[in-house]
């Protein structure tokens, strides 16, 4: 994506250069002129060749005549001679013909006025003038010269010859004209194309920004719910901790611990989904399993389940895979679901269902994702406006009118469509129709088991936060590694310089002091190239920088399973 293959580079540059060269009206004009010049040279050449041919032809004609009249000339048979010569009258191009005896005396012949015959016969070089051609050939029998033949033929005049080339000239002129016109239009087209490309680029940027803001917009609709949710989770956790102080009953303690565990898991999952959802990602269609994907949105959809709103999922197994951008799909479903919630101020049930829809009679196979509510419904007169951007019936601060326009844009971009069925007072059903893909959906990795350490190794843990350091340290011990903690990147460097007796380094990303996590990993890979390092990080721009540099990451919050698998893959492989 980033680097074009080097062999294509000079070629495409050459093509660009040629294109820009051709794309000027001046070049087109030059080409046209060259074409005209070539045409003229061609005509001239043809003219010369045809003259040479005419000369040859005339010489042969004279030779044939000479051979024929050899005997009549030798034996004074002037009647036969005249017959031979007279036969040439039939050729209108012949202006004069005559036979002379060995002494050069005139024997017979004729001339068409104004041409005149020479009085004495003489052998000489052919003479070509603009309008006529004269050849003289000897009359030879055996090798005795008996006389000579004089033949003069008319050539086509310049104007007549020119008319012969009028056809060619016309074609050449047309071609030249065509080149000029095409060149000019191509040039303007090229310019327009460049403009269009720039426009497209800037529009694509704008679109990306729009998509991002649409996401944040949808997320914004959830914020109230998120805060509320976290509050509940925290309440569960702190309440359980309070209760734990007051009891020694191991079964009760166990239950409370499980409650806390559950609340924390939900919180982590929610944060993870929010982060993933709001991540700025390029539009990238993937083959996905709709059921799996929509079920994976549970933490987000749960935010809508307030004030008497229920969400039901009806996602049968065996749904065909579809090829769409997953995060756009999530935004679209969220947008439709938010509208459904808004349409049911008194509470109700939102049903998200999906079915395969076989295409018959040439239609394509589709998967239909339908989201229904039992809300206010949409009035028929505004039905054809709801997909317009910024069309909203909700008050200021409540609606933006961008939700359904995103839904529509997503459906069309995926090769699908949106259908709306609504009855005022009864409810609304909005269906996303997505074309079936014949690819294999990428399965999300199954949660791996804890990979126990294969040998006792020492790991340098770099982490400023005591709680986190303690927790991660406990994880490492549980997996079976020894560890030593450093409180910052600078401290870690000092420790390593004293003695780099560690199998690897596990470091936080953002820490006080001179060295950040990334800096630390870079320095380690320079000083001790064989020592591996893993960065622990939440989602941030720095993380993607690190990933691009090939630095290994574990994303916070992580489980002991993930951590053990990462360390194992580095130390063992």
């Amino acid at each position: 994506m980033t680097a074009e293959s080097p062999s294509r580079l000079p070629l495409s540059r050459l093509r660009d250069w040629l294109t820009s060269l051709v794309a000027t009206p001046i070049t087109a004009g030059i080409i046209a002129c060259l074409l005209l010049g070539a045409g003229a040279a061609f005509a001239f050449q043809i003219d010369r060749i045809s003259r040479d041919e005419k000369l040859q032809q005339t010489t042969v004609q004279a030779q044939v005549l000479a051979s024929g009249i050899a005997a009549p000339l030798a034996f004074d048979d002037s009647a036969t001679l005249q017959e031979y010569l007279g036969a040439l009258h039939a050729d209108p191009q012949i202006l004069a013909v005559a036979a002379y005896d060995a002494q050069g005396g005139f024997v017979g012949g004729y001339a068409v006025a104004p041409a005149k015959l020479p009085r004495k016969g003489q052998i000489g070089e052919p003479v070509i003038s603009a309008r006529e051609l004269t050849v003289t050939v000897p009359v030879v029998q055996g090798d005795t010269q008996l006389g000579s033949v004089y033949l003069r033929v008319g050539l086509d005049s310049w104007s007549r010859r020119a008319t012969r080339y009028v056809g060619i000239a016309a074609i050449v002129m047309m071609a030249a004209l065509l080149i000029v016109v095409l060149g000019a239009s191509y040039a303007s087209l090229h310019e327009a194309h460049n403009q269009l490309q720039q426009e497209t680029a800037s529009r694509m940027q704008a679109e990306e920004a729009l998509r991002q803001s649409q996401k944040m917009e949808a997320l914004g609709q959830l914020t109230g719910g998120v805060a509320h949710d976290f509050n509940n989770l925290l309440m569960v956790a702190s309440g359980a901790l309070d209760l734990m102080d007051r009891t020694d009953d191991p079964t009760k303690l166990e239950r409370l611990k499980a409650g806390i565990r559950h609340a924390v898991d939900r919180g982590a999952k929610l944060t993870q989904q929010l982060l993933t959802f709001s991540r700025r990602s390029p539009l990238k269609p993937e083959v996905i399993d709709l059921g799996h994907r929509i079920r994976g949105m549970d933490a987000l959809l749960d935010r809508l389940q307030t004030d008497g709103i229920q969400i039901e999922l009806d996602l049968p197994a065996g749904l065909w895979p579809v090829e769409v951008d997953p995060s756009e799909l999530e935004v679209a479903i969220l947008n439709i679901a938010i509208n459904a919630r808004d349409a049911m101020p008194g509470g109700g049930t939102i049903v998200i269902s999906a079915v395969n829809q076989s295409g018959n009679e040439g239609a394509d196979d589709m998967v239909r994702v339908a989201i229904s509510d039992s809300g206010t419904g949409i009035a028929p007169e505004i039905l054809n406006r709801i997909f317009e951007p910024f069309y909203t019936t909700k008050g200021v601060g409540h609606g933006t009118g961008l939700g359904l326009s995103q839904v529509y844009g997503f459906a069309r971009a995926s090769g699908g469509d949106v259908e709306v069925r609504s009855e005022v007072g009864k409810g609304t059903l909005i269906s996303l129709l997505l074309p079936r893909s014949h690819g294999e959906p990428e399965r999300a990795a199954v949660m791996p088991a804890v990979v126990q350490a294969s040998a006792r190794r020492r790991i340098l843990l770099v982490e400023d936060d005591n709680t986190v350091a303690g927790m991660v340290g406990d994880m490492l011990s549980a997996i079976g590694y020894d560890h030593e903690r450093a409180v910052s990147g600078d401290a870690a460097m000092r420790r390593l310089e004293r003695n780099p007796d560690f199998s690897m380094v596990l470091s936080d990303m953002i820490m006080p002091g001179q060295l950040s996590g990334i800096d630390l990993v870079r320095q380690i890979s320079q000083r001790w190239p064989t020592m591996p390092a893993i960065l622990m990080t939440g989602y941030s721009e720095a993380a993607s920088t690190a990933r691009n540099e090939g630095i290994r990451l574990v994303t916070k919050p992580f489980t002991i399973q993930t951590l053990s698998a990462q360390i194992d893959s580095i130390l063992v492989h």
Binding site: S67, A71, A74, F75, S78, A79, D101, T144, L146
Partner: protein, 194 residues
Amino acid sequence: MDDVRPPSPARTLRRTLTAPVVLCCVLALLMSQDAPATAQQPASLEQAVKASFLFKFAPFVSWPAAAQPQGGPFNICLRGEDPFGATLDEVVRGQRISGRSVSVRRLGDNGNLGGCQMLFAGRSTATSYAPFAEIDGQPILTVSDQKSGVDGAMIQFVMQNGRVRFQIDSTAARANGLTISSKLLGMAVSVDRR
């Protein structure tokens, strides 16, 4: 080219000796040489034409290669009376046949035929005059004049409408290994008439 026959000449339309070519020839001859006494007579015009024809037969006839000794001249031999005199010498002067110079040899009534390519037999008063007797298959083109009463030549001058023409016996010529061009045959008033 030799087998291209001219489109059958209309012999009936042949005109008399007014053709300017012959006049030109003769006038040129008259002016360019010391005309012999006989040249003033009308017969000399006829003889001049015959002399010219005699020489011009050669290019239209091909001799077998064996009959053409390298380097030697092309010999036109005369037997019996010489009707041409200096005219013939004049005609052949400076000419070449098959790259060889041309000479005229006057043999008298029965001189040796060795080296002759052509033999013209004029009249003779000798009773035992048989000019072509010892040719006997040798490649020698024989020519005579009907007027002189010598028979048996391959080519014989005849007068037709006051013009000099000739008859050809191509069978005899072929029997002696000579090939006469069809062009020349086309000029003859008759071919192979016996």
